[in-house]
Each structure stands twice: as structure tokens, then as C-alpha cells.
């Protein structure tokens, strides 16, 4: 099976004056369609940097990153937005909804970026909100929604672009456990029922049982030997490229 994301010997160095900080060092990772992968690790370990590079938001210093088969390292900053738009959907910790737009319009914005006509976008937006259980909230502004509802709108927005990859940064951090669980069920469905590659950065131990695979990052590298099989049948592997677990 072709990986949705393939990362090889990835390094990222942040330049600060004459010195620099090596945020990622030699990362190797594959994320497959239909898989829910969690990136864990202490603050500053480099997991969000890795997520940003896989999401074509940050550029790598060296190595290779292939997104849906396309090499993204070396692409210019003008080429990256188009790639994000086509292949990647984001879900953020702070929801990042547009407060002046209604829930429906937030979803339509993504469709507008994809060039969908206003009438079609409106229909599609209603369908997506229905799928996340918020059909009646189409005209509600984010300030009138609960945290869980906001995150579900954000998921609907991420899905609006019909991406093959969903990247989520701490999607449950701002939610109570019950709501967080609902959101994770939704993310799990995206991976397992809709065959999306889902990568989640999280500190939230309550949601680990949703993972097909957990990759622990420490000091900018994958921590070998600290992988956990969560689902029954998950197989841990040490490979020459790092550590992988498969269902």
C-alpha cells in the first residue's frame, strides 16, 4: 500500500543568529491511508514541527517528505499552499474558526478556496455539518457554540476540501473528556471508515486507545522502543527506518 505520507531522514534546524536549534534529527516515518497515528512527546520535542512539515506549512532543512506521492522538500513557498489545499485538512487545538462567519460559512470558506460555486458550497456545507451532527447550527456563530461543537465544525471544514490526510494538533486539549471522546470517535471514523490518513499530536492520555499507532518523539527524534500497541492485534516493529506498528 502506498503511504499517504513518507518521511525520510528529515531534519529541521531553526536558525537563530549564528547558532541554530536542531528541532528534528533524522526522522523516518510512514503514515498510511486508513490509519490513525498519534504523535506524542514532551513539550519542545519536535512533534508539532514534524506535523507542520508533514502538513507542508514548514519547510524541512534536509531529508525527504512525500505527501500523496509528491516530494515536497524543495518546493517553493508559493507551491505549498496548493498542495495543502488539495491533500491536507487541519484540525487545530484552538479550533481556529472565523468568529465573524457562521458555522456554515466557515465550512463554505474552505470550499470557496477549492473553487466550488457558492450554491454548491452551501449544499455541501449543510451536508458536512449534518455528518458531524450540527445540521441545525448552520447559521450559528462560533461564539454561540460549545467547545465540542466548534471542534466538530472545524472537522467539517477540514473535510470540506476532501483531503486524503487529516492533521490535528491537540484536538481534544480544550475539551472535556466526554466531548473529547466524541471528537476522537469522529477522527477514528475518518481513518477507519473513510480511509483517511489521520495524524494527531496529543498529550491527552485519555485518547490513546483510539490510536492505531503511537510514535513518541523526544529531542527531535523518534524514541525507539517506546511504542505501544493500543488496539488488539497491533504489531510493533523495529525497522531499519525506525519504529512502526501495524494493525
Amino acid at each position: 500500500m502506498q503511504s499517504a505520507i513518507t518521511v525520510r531522514e528529515l531534519t529541521k534546524k531553526y536558525e537563530e543568529g549564528t547558532a541554530g536549534t536542531l528541532a528534528l534529527r533524522g526522522i523516518n516515518l510512514d503514515v498510511h491511508p486508513g490509519e490513525l497515528l498519534m504523535l506524542m512527546g514532551p513539550s519542545g520535542s519536535g512533534k508539532t514541527t514534524l506535523l507542520s512539515i508533514m502538513g507542508c506549512i514548514l519547510t524541512a532543512t534536509s531529508g525527504s517528505v512525500r505527501v500523496s506521492g509528491r516530494e515536497v522538500v524543495g518546493l517553493s513557498e508559493k507551491q505549498l499552499p496548493a498542495l495543502r489545499l488539495e491533500h491536507i485538512g487541519f484540525v487545530f487545538q484552538g479550533f481556529n474558526l472565523f468568529p465573524t462567519l457562521t458555522a456554515g460559512e466557515n465550512v463554505e470558506l474552505m470550499l470557496d478556496l477549492k473553487g466550488v460555486s457558492a450554491a454548491k458550497a452551501r449544499r455541501r456545507s449543510q451536508e458536512l455539518l449534518e455528518q458531524v451532527g450540527l445540521a441545525e447550527k448552520y447559521s450559528s456563530f462560533p461564539s454561540d457554540l460549545s467547545g465540542g461543537q466548534k471542534q466538530r465544525v472545524a472537522i467539517a471544514r477540514a473535510l470540506a476540501g476532501d483531503p486524503s490526510i487529516i492533521l490535528a494538533d491537540e484536538p481534544t486539549a480544550a475539551l472535556d473528556s466526554h466531548t473529547g471522546r466524541n471528537v476522537m470517535e469522529m477522527m477514528s471514523d475518518l481513518a477507519h471508515k473513510r480511509n483517511r490518513a489521520v495524524v494527531i499530536v496529543t498529550h491527552d492520555s485519555r485518547v490513546l486507545n483510539f490510536a492505531d499507532r503511537i510514535v513518541r518523539i523526544e529531542d527531535g527524534a523518534i524514541a525507539v522502543g517506546e511504542m505501544e500497541a493500543v488496539h488488539p492485534g497491533m504489531l510493533l516493529q523495529n525497522t531499519p527506518l525506525g519504529v512502526e506498528g501495524q494493525v
Binding site: 499552499p81 495543502r84 489545499l85 487545538q93 472565523f98 462567519l101 470558506l109
Partner: protein
């Protein structure tokens, strides 16, 4: 596109009010200053522009109409003898003193003309007729200056340059650029009022004969009439306007105020649009993270600026119309021809869009990775 620009703009009512106030202030300031400039410009050359003459003959080196120097009226015959001259009339335009009933004096500009000629007749009469000037000591002045000169109605008698003068009519909107109102009278009366000798005139106005070439007639006049300058009406009008507006610095001051209006408007609008952009910077970062190209984000900011420009322009023009209307009865007219109103729209748009470029610079440098921070 979902209405992001409109919503961002209307979301913060206080900021919107500040933005619109800045634009309105700028629009009104520019309209008033440019309108004053136009009003002054029109007033400086009023007499020349309404003369219906083709050519103006003056003494040597007369830079503007108020600086006319008397010369022998015998030159009138020499002028009339030049081929291509259709009609030629003497004209006096000179400062003299008007004595009010209360004994106070005011400077006026006497305009002495031939009532039977077609050139340089008082216009926009609201009371009396030009022909009434044929009656003894008759004068016509503008209703704007009634109070200044102590006039209440037709028929009143005053003293000009020590001679009796009787008001026989009023015009409307004939302003003088200087503080001295125009007082129209016959050529003969003007000689008395201005203390000129009987054989002196200050200008000769010429209408060329049908089919004659203006430049050829001008050259012929210069060749045949000694010690005079011959200007086309447009040329003399420009010279007079240039003198008052630029040599005296009056016009420059008004233009500088207009430019200041533009600068103040630009700064206020730039600052408020920038503040709005900074307020929404995380959203623009999210847009970029979602895959929006910079051009999409620019469009949102530009749309925001354009909406503010249209609203500010409409409100600014409403205020300006009241100001312009109110000025018509004052000493200094503010003019706003349709071309200026249209031009102001584009200037406002340019100002707001230009101001938005400051914000665009900020947005261009947004790191979309900011969306992962908190």
C-alpha cells in the same frame, strides 16, 4: 466568497466608526480645500472669463487684471483699424473707495464698460437691468457685498471716489478674489469714480471679425499699436489666476491643506485597517494554513478597504454637500463640480486601498505555522 471582509469590518463597531471618521474627515477636508482652490481660481479670473472678448489689450507688462495701467484711449481707433478686428471696446477695472452711509470706507473695484456693447456686461442679475446703468451715476454690485458696503436696496445713493453713485441693480455670485467687490458702471462714470482723465482707458477688449484668425489678429495688433500687450482671454485669465494663486502663495496654502487632508486620511485609514488586520492575524494565518494563496488573503483585505472607502466617501460627500451649499452665501465659495465629486471617489478608493497595502505587507509575512501555537 463568504463575506469575511464585510464581517471583519462590521464586527468591531468602534473600529469601524474610527475608520469611517478618518475617511469622512479626509474627504471633507480635501473637498473643502480643493473646492476653495477652485472657488478662488474662478474668482480671480471672473471678470476676464465672463468678458466675452477674444483679446485683451493692456499697457506693457501688466501681470494681472487688477494691475492695469491707464493709457490713451486714442489707441482704440488704432485697434479698430487693424484688419480682423470685429469690435473693440474700452474697459476700466480699477480700485477706488466706496463711502458707506456711516462714513466708513471700503475698497471696491470699479468696472467701467460700454452698456451697449456685448463685451464685459454684468451677469446673473437678480434685480435691475444692465440698461439701468445708462441712468445717471448708476452702479450694479453683487448682493453678497450688500452688508459690507452698507447697501440695503436699489435706489440708495453712496459716494465712490468722491462722486455720487446710485445702486440700480444686484447680481448674484460675482465674487472678487480680493476683499474689494466689483462695482459695475458705465465707462464714463468709471473714469470719474477712478479719477482717470477723460482720454484714458485701462484695457481694450477685442472681438475678432467672423472668419478672422485669432493669432494673426493678435500679431497685427502688436505690430500696429505701440506700447501695448495683446493677450488672448484664456492667456490673460491664466496669468491673473497664476498671480493670485501662486505668486501670492494663497493657492499653494490651500493646496497644501488639501494634500494634508489626504495624508491625514491615509494615516488614519492605514492605522485602523492595519489594527483590524492585526486583530484578525490568526484568522489570516489559518486561511494560509488551509491553503489560501496570498492573493486570496489580499482580496479579503482589499475588499475590506474598498467597502470602507465607499461608505466613507458617501458619508463624506453628504457632509461636503452641506458645507459647499453653506459656503455659497459666504465670502469664499467652495466649488464642487461633478468631475471633482467623481475624482474624489477614486481618490478615496486609492487612499483606502493604498492604506491597505501596509496591512498586506504584514499578512505576507505571516508564518502559517502560527496556527499551531496555542
Amino acid at each position: 466568497m463568504p463575506p469575511l471582509a464585510q464581517r471583519n469590518l462590521f464586527h468591531d463597531k468602534v473600529r469601524l466608526t474610527v475608520t469611517l471618521t478618518g475617511i469622512v474627515f479626509s474627504v471633507v477636508l480635501i473637498v473643502v480645500q480643493l473646492g476653495l482652490f477652485l472657488g478662488f481660481t474662478t474668482a480671480t479670473s471672473n471678470l476676464i472669463d465672463h468678458s466675452n472678448a477674444d483679446l485683451w489689450i493692456t499697457s506693457k507688462n501688466v501681470p494681472y487684471v487688477e494691475q492695469g495701467v491707464a493709457f490713451s484711449e486714442r489707441k482704440l481707433n488704432q485697434v479698430r483699424a487693424v484688419p480682423g478686428v470685429g469690435d473693440a471696446q474700452k474697459l476700466i477695472a480699477r480700485w477706488t473707495q466706496w463711502k458707506r452711509h456711516d462714513g466708513g470706507q471700503d475698497s471696491v473695484q470699479i468696472v467701467g464698460l460700454n452698456v451697449d456693447a456685448t463685451m464685459e456686461r454684468p451677469w446673473n442679475l437678480v434685480e435691475g437691468r444692465v440698461e439701468d446703468l445708462k441712468t445717471p451715476d448708476a452702479v450694479i454690485l453683487d448682493e453678497l457685498y450688500k452688508q459690507k458696503l452698507g447697501v440695503t436696496s436699489v435706489g440708495e445713493v453712496f459716494e465712490i471716489g468722491g462722486h455720487r453713485a446710485r445702486v440700480v441693480g444686484f447680481t448674484r455670485g460675482i465674487r472678487s478674489f480680493t476683499t474689494s467687490p466689483y462695482v459695475f458702471t458705465t465707462f464714463k462714470n468709471a473714469q470719474n469714480f477712478a479719477n482717470l482723465r477723460e482720454d484714458q482707458t485701462m484695457f481694450i477688449l477685442v472681438n475678432i471679425a467672423p472668419g478672422a484668425n485669432l493669432e494673426q489678429v493678435r500679431r497685427a495688433l502688436l505690430a500696429n499699436v505701440k506700447d501695448v500687450e495683446v493677450y488672448t482671454t484664456a492667456e490673460f485669465s491664466r496669468m491673473t489666476t497664476f498671480y493670485w494663486m501662486f505668486t501670492t502663495g494663497a493657492g499653494v496654502a490651500v493646496l497644501i491643506a488639501a494634500v494634508l487632508g489626504l495624508v491625514v486620511g491615509f494615516v488614519v485609514v492605514a492605522q485602523t485597517i492595519y489594527a483590524t488586520t492585526v486583530d484578525h492575524i490568526r484568522e489570516f494565518g489559518t486561511l494560509k494554513a488551509m491553503g489560501a494563496p496570498n492573493s486570496y488573503v489580499y482580496k479579503v483585505i482589499m475588499k475590506q478597504a474598498a467597502i470602507a472607502a465607499v461608505m466613507g466617501y458617501v458619508l463624506g460627500m453628504i457632509v461636503s454637500v452641506f458645507v459647499v451649499h453653506g459656503s455659497q452665501k459666504g465670502g469664499a465659495a467652495i466649488l464642487m463640480p461633478p468631475q471633482m465629486a467623481i475624482g474624489m471617489f477614486f481618490l478615496t478608493l486609492l487612499m483606502c486601498v493604498g492604506a491597505a497595502l501596509v496591512s498586506i505587507n504584514k499578512v505576507t509575512r505571516i508564518d502559517p505555522a502560527m496556527v499551531f501555537k496555542g
